[in-house]
Amino acid sequence: MAAMLLEVQQVGLNFGGVQALTDVSFSVSQGELFSIIGPNGAGKTTLFDCISGRYTPKGSIKFNGVELVGQKSHLRPKLGIMRTFQNIALFPNETVEDNVLVGSDYRLRSGLLRSCLYWSPLGCSRQEGSHRAQAREIMAELGVEQFANVPASELAYGTQKRVELARALVAQPALLLLDEPMAGMTSGEKMEIAALVQKLNQERGITVVMIEHDMGVVMEISHRVLVLDFGQRIALGPPLEVIEDPQVRRAYLGEAV
């Protein structure tokens, strides 16, 4: 098996009495397409929040051998971790293009002075230009190019989801955390996004961890599936194995699957 990219060990977190995560451990190897499922309120999003530094949990989260817990969250993209949000966290007043550009901004080194001198030889216009071109490409790939100059808040829900994905992708992450990327899409659209995720994973070698409630998609594209319930890991394994697990059936899928 390839080297472990993400190692989550004994991660626990509680919110004033609510035990959101309890001793969750798993690891994701390089190049894997890994899904997390579980009932509502199981702690999936919270787990993402721990990985991306919104919360500081107990336990250890290692990425490429680097401990993430306690590190500032704005360093994640630099390390190669990028995410999307379940409830959409675009910058509502900004245009789609600016939203997407923020994703790759961590790579720009232009400070105040170079910004001020934009067009001069010392300025940052070149860098900016090339980033803009790259952003355009990815926006085209996700079919949101025509909205480039539209403020994000004026987009339909599904379109916003795509923009979020674009924002994550311009960062050229090694690890992509997707929180319900296909919620609110028709099955055709879902399939399109699923195909895209698969492509990213296979062709660009991006490791993907995805939270998704659509079992069809999960079964179809993921290599392994982690199941959480009440903040605890109740199953981990290949999709077909997990789905047969009685505990999973009871907690998540219901009897009738």
Binding site: M82, L90, F91, L101, V102, G103, G111, E128
Partner: protein, 333 residues
Amino acid sequence: MLADRFDRIGAVALIACLAVVSQFMGDYHLALLTQITVFALSAMGLNMLLGNTGMISIAHAAFMGVGAFSSAYLIQNLGLPALPAILLAGLITSVVGMVFGLPSLRLKGVYLAMASFAAQIILYWAFEQSRWLTGGQDGRFAQRPVMLGISFMDSHRFYLLALAFAVLGAVANLNIERSRLGRAFNAVRDRSQAAEMMGVNVFRTKIASFGLATFYAGVAGALFGQYLEFVAIQAFSLSVSIQFLALVIIGGLGSLAGSVLGAAFIVLVPEILDTIILMFSHNTGEMAPIRLGVFGLIVVVFLLFEPQGLARAWNRTRQWALNHTGKGSQTRS
């Protein structure tokens, strides 16, 4: 944004026009123009802080004071040449601003605004205490500069200097807005937590915004002192800070045009009201409460009809003009 050619040509024409016309103006009109120009420069800073980064500062006047006093001190007491002194005053203000911006690490919204309110009170008190710097209640004189061998004693020349600074400030403002830093400002304003996870160093961005805003305030303060040839702490009081806040909101948040239009609004509306009254009587005194009330009403009514500020109204007019000249791009604004 001065994105298309129309705007760029218009801006250049406007600047050239101001530079020429100002040279033929009388003292009074020139004084107003200079004040607008300096206020606009100062407002650009506040607008980046408030409009772009979403942080309210009720201490902008106090920061202008820091710039005004320190430049006067650097020039008169330490004998520094004017140009480096003004820039250094800007930097000093910027450092002070960043120190007072530290609470932004933890505070948001109105609470941050109140921390800046505290900054205003504390700085004002410090001004009162520092007679060596500020002259205490009596204020201190500030000479107009000699720069690169040119004397700006003359009001007409001094205006050109102020205009030059304002233009530089505006260009820098636009450039910042369209580059990484500008996007980071906006991201922090809209959703700071998400921005952080997207790689924006939120704290550093906020501090940078404070530093930038107060640099503008410092330079503008220095010029303001030199325009008045006198700096008094009363010119940097709380009510002036609130006036700047009003200026930026009425002008239009996060827009360069807003800073300029807002400055013109704040300076000109009372003067125009005076002029109207003086046309009918030689006494603005009896009318003073009415004039004050009318000013308040203008603010209220204006915001009722254009809560997004003058910049938006201007944009609309511009769009209309573009459509009617047939050259307009059909982009959504």
